[in-house]
């Protein structure tokens, strides 16, 4: 197992290097000048404009800027935001936990609902449940996130008053940030009401963010299960007289899990992208909102650093998925040797 993980880690080196180049290039390819964006309607004389670009280090050749950035990355320094002048890594660390917390809950919700729905739909193939579940999941998958979020807010928050509209926690609670994860921090502060408020605020955004992965997981589980249920060893298990529950959830599901885990891994990656919309709707102070603001202001260091860190997180999740494959299926583990 350690050798397996090591080989996967080594493959990461060129990936990370490529990511730095991509992050740098993407940030620079967007047209626009941070100084102009900052000044808006206001005039600025050319000398002062040049002085500001110089102060921000934007007048140097691109290659020099890239190498400078690469050197910074190697020593763990991602530079400072052009706007707030705060270190990029520090800003990332204050917004990242919010995104992780939301994503974890969203994925957990997607798995908790998607997996059983997929299994039941496969077992009762062609039933009304199957038809309903697959139609609903296709609808969920196609729903524009922005619209879906507003719809839920209007129904559950404005009309029914069951959930808060937006935010991470009621503004009255001022929980000291220790880990950045509000569910954890409220427990550390031993404030039950604040914990409930944080959980309450998670409900709608987690549903919205979890909808697409849920639909994917449900459909993928169903098709993988259908395939496995036809297999010889399932017939053998049934012939042995095992309970239907054992056959489905132990013998079939574990074999069906490989494609499902892949989908969950990939979904976690797209989740960070989907989070941008969800975070904007729900005023969620996460990475997505932070990056969108950086694009708007042409804040290159934040863009470069942010893209790199998010990409790094996605890579880590996929590494984890690779390891999970090995755990689920010894054949993959051995083949990697």
């Amino acid at each position: 197992m350690p050798a397996f993980i090591l080989s996967r880690l080594l493959q990461l080196v060129p990936v990370v290097l490529g990511m730095t180049l991509l992050a740098f290039a993407l940030a620079r390819l967007i047209p626009g000048d941070p100084v102009e964006t900052m000044m808006g309607e206001r005039g600025i004389d050319p000398a002062h404009h040049a002085a500001m670009r110089h102060a921000l280090g934007l007048d140097r050749p691109l290659a020099v800027q890239y190498l400078d950035y690469l050197g910074g990355v190697a020593s763990g320094d991602l530079g400072r935001s052009l706007v707030t002048k705060a270190p990029v890594l520090g800003e990332f660390l204050t917004v990242f936990p919010a995104t992780v917390e939301l994503s974890v809950i969203a994925v957990a919700f997607a798995i908790a609902v998607g997996l059983p729905v997929g299994v039941i739909a496969a077992v009762r193939r062609g039933s009304a449940f199957d038809w309903l579940a697959m139609t609903a999941s296709l609808t969920g998958y196609s729903m524009p996130v922005f619209w879906w979020g507003l719809l839920l807010i209007l129904l559950f928050s404005v009309h029914l008053g069951w959930t808060p509209v937006a935010g991470r926690i009621d503004v009255l609670y001022d929980v000291p940030p220790v880990t950045g994860f509000l569910l954890v921090d409220t427990l550390i502060a031993r404030d039950g009401a604040a914990f409930a408020s944080a959980l309450h605020h998670l409900v709608l955004p987690a549903i919205v963010l979890g909808t697409i992965p849920l639909a994917t997981i449900a459909r993928m589980t169903r098709s993988a299960m259908l395939e496995v249920l036809q297999a010889d060893h399932i017939r053998a298990a049934r012939a042995k007289g095992l309970t239907s529950f054992r056959v489905v959830f132990v013998h079939a599901l574990r074999n069906a899990m490989i494609p499902v885990v892949t989908v969950i891994g990939l979904a976690t990656g797209t989740l960070l992208a989907g989070a941008i919309l969800t975070e904007t709707i729900f005023s969620w102070p996460g990475v997505g909102k932070w990056l969108v603001e950086a694009v708007r202001r042409r804040d290159y260091p934040v863009l470069q650093g942010g893209i790199l860190l998010v990409a790094g997180a996605v890579v880590c999740v996929n590494l984890l998925v690779d390891v999970l494959y090995g755990l689920l299926d010894p054949r993959i583990r051995h083949a990697a040797r």
């Binding site: 047209p31 808060p164 408020s197 005023s283």
Partner: protein
Amino acid sequence: MVVRSLAGALLALTMSALVMLARPAAAAPFVYCSEASPEGFNASLFIANTTFDASSRNVFNRLVEFERGSTKLRPALAESWTISPDGRVYTFKLRPGVAFQTTKTFTPSRPFNADDVLYTFLRQWDPNHRDHRLSGGSYEYFNSMDMPKLITAIDKLDDLTVRFTLSQPEAPFLADLAMDFASIFSAEYADAMYAAGTPEKIDQEPVGTGPFQLVGYQKDAVIRYKAHPGYWEGKAALDPLIFAITPDAAVAYAKLKTSECQLIPYPNQADLPAMQRDPDLVVTSQEGLNVAYLAFNTQKKPFDDVRVRRALDLAIDRDAIIAAVYLGAGRKAKNPIPPTLWSYNDAIVDTPYDPAAAKRLLAEAGYPQGFETDIWALPVKRPYAPDSRRTAEMIQADWAKVGVRAVIVSYELGELLKRTKAGEHQTMLFGWTGDNGDPDNFLYTLLGCEAAKDGANRARWCDARFDALVTQAKRTSDVGERTRLYEEAQVVFKQETPWVTIAHSVVSTAMRRNVENYRIDPLGGHLFYGVDLAR
């Protein structure tokens, strides 16, 4: 089936438990759904309204300030002032006994005095000042108001008297000092933070003399303030004051409906009718101190010919634009300054919508068949222009009727600003929101010859007659004389038509019915001192 109904019951139970538990017990705070995170807490380093709301407008004071809800000046940290007969020396008598805020990191040992005024201005003015380079050290407004050249000396005469000496008479100087960049910092706090090795803290954890003090800030989430107990005008009624950062206007509206916030800054125009019908909400509207216009690049053919400019002015149906783009929440503009500003020349006759006359004028100018041109449109919503692109499309259609074929050009904002500053456009849709309630801030800043050099004058229009009038008005302190000069300048403007003046937009704010005494700030700020919440 059983499983499903059980799960349903469980869900309902959890939900209601959460609703009960999550309801906070303490007294309701005043929550303002602000639209974005501030860039920082030192207004002199930035130019965004959001940043001013979070810092200068509620946490700090200036020597002179605008009266709430107007652009009239009133004494604030300066009790009184005298201006020398030649208009070059301003002497301020400071208000005694004004307390700075006491925060976690700083306890002031003395009240506000001349040292604080000197620190505030010297930091921005003197490149050799200890803190000049702090936090990036670019003072956008100070520079763009030409302060480095204008101010020649700042002297402390005694603890409560400060003297500014200018290089030339400058009538708008007093109004300039009421702007956000001139917010007074504590010199004692700056020294303390410098000694502690954390000088940049003065820009992140502000200490001012204002009505509210910062208690905590979480980026993109929340800014917390409490009322400054020793505020010199008396403690604020709202305590605590919370900014809940809510970027989406539709979501802000939903939060307003559920009382998650009491006031929202920029409601969607389309939501206003529903808000006005809602018995729990109040919508207040006021004409903003702004103008939206189309600038002709007067240095390019055919727009160097005033007949062409007038013809294209005649060809635009601005009433249709007000109805379709502003949804009625705008007023047709005939002058480059809004009617709420003093010296507005109401005697000016507005250009009618007259395509036939436009055609005749074009033929006279040598373009009977029209010509090809472009309209550069802003890619983003601005306070004066809800939809620049849509306006461009309507103008395009109007011009087509007189034979002028225009293509619409749009770039990302920064790129568009850069290219139009370089004069790549033939015509451009643009606008302006006033900074200090002085006509100089529109007429000289946007249309003077100096502005044709630094790019703010997108018409690249330099008219000797107009420039002489607005420059003279800048050098005269007599308001009656200045009014006369500006009124005349508007006559020249109309004759020369460097712009098509399109609209002055109406600014709206929506709030819960129990919010009392809120006044819309014509300068675009959101100020919470003097506001009350009926219980």
